[in-house]
């Protein structure tokens, strides 16, 4: 898979910053999976900054923790968990 044919211009700096030990296929997979994750998260209504004072953490956990979890799972595919 050629990086230039599959990645958007805005992704290239990130692609190039990824671990040099990763194959180009792995790098493309990471970029694309992260893009998908961000796009899905953006479809979830945000908790507006002006409402943080009254906001409760349950809403945050329900809405956004799953995306952090997926991000961590993706990282764990490439790096062992911390010890």
């Amino acid at each position: 898979m050629k990086k230039d044919s599959t990645l958007k211009v805005g992704d290239l700096n990130f692609y190039n910053a990824l671990d040099a030990r990763f194959s180009s296929e792995s790098k493309v997979q990471i970029v694309q999976e992260l893009e998908n994750l961000i796009e899905k998260e953006r479809a979830v209504p945000k908790i507006e900054y002006e409402t943080y004072y009254d906001a409760n953490s349950e809403e945050l956990v329900d809405k956004f923790f799953p995306f952090f979890e997926k991000h961590t799972e993706l990282i764990n595919q490439f790096y062992p968990p911390p010890h």
């Binding site: 805005g10 990130f14 979890e69």
Partner: protein, 223 residues
């Protein structure tokens, strides 16, 4: 657990903190940091503080701006813990505070986990000794309990703040001064690009954690 590199570096951090403005938790009426990136749960915590301590005089927060000495601290910590974190990581937030001795067990002084999203870890940097007089730290319970005590000023502790129960134990004589650095495992190393948020915890969502701001909403990952 590890230590800051030198006494002179500890002294420089002391000098830096000593020149800063400070604030109490209640001083932050909504989000004086003017930052929409970090999550703040103000009301619920303020109510607990009021119910437990009656006031928030027990802890004083330093107003940390971006500064070369903090950058140097971040660089030292990054280099020291990278093999333990086992992945690149983002420095999410830096806070610092003074806690008074003999305060009633509440919040950070009772066993708790921090409830941060998956992928986060925390580094505590103690600028005062960890002992009976200044206070100390307990991580884990029962057979996994580690009491971090009788350690010199400059002791640093990396731990899983949202998975492992932990608590600070207040000192009996002296104020304790600590710096807290929150990190998140990521695919590339990311620096803290905002002032320290005194009552902020973690990024409010993955988008704000990983994406550079753009007016047209394009997904451009931070590097």
């Amino acid at each position: 657990m590890f230590n800051l590199p030198s006494k002179s570096f500890i002294n420089k951090l002391f000098d830096y903190l000593g020149k800063l403005e400070t604030a109490k938790y209640s001083d932050f009426n909504i989000n004086d940091h003017k930052c929409d990136r970090l999550w703040v749960q103000k009301k619920a915590r303020q109510e607990k503080i009021n119910a437990s301590w009656g006031s928030d005089e027990a802890m004083t927060y330093f107003i940390l701006r971006q500064h070369p000495i903090l950058k140097k601290l971040h660089n030292y910590i990054r280099a020291t813990i990278k093999d333990n974190v086992n992945a690149p990581f983002s420095i999410v937030n830096t806070r610092a505070w003074v806690s008074k001795p003999n305060i009633r067990a509440y919040g950070p002084f009772k066993y708790h986990t921090d409830g941060f999203p998956p992928g986060h870890l925390k580094v505590m940097v103690y600028l005062t000794p960890l002992d009976i007089n200044y206070g100390y730290l307990i991580i884990g319970i029962d057979a996994n309990r580690h009491t971090i005590i009788d350690q010199p000023a400059g002791t640093c502790v990396l731990f899983r703040n949202s998975e492992t129960l932990h608590k600070a134990v207040p000192g009996i004589k002296q104020d304790r001064i600590a710096i807290e650095i929150t990190i998140q495992r990521t695919f590339v190393d990311l620096e803290q690009d905002h002032d320290g948020h005194p009552i902020g915890t973690h990024y409010s969502n993955l988008d704000t954690a990983l994406i550079s701001h753009s007016d047209d909403g394009k997904i451009i990952f931070r590097t």
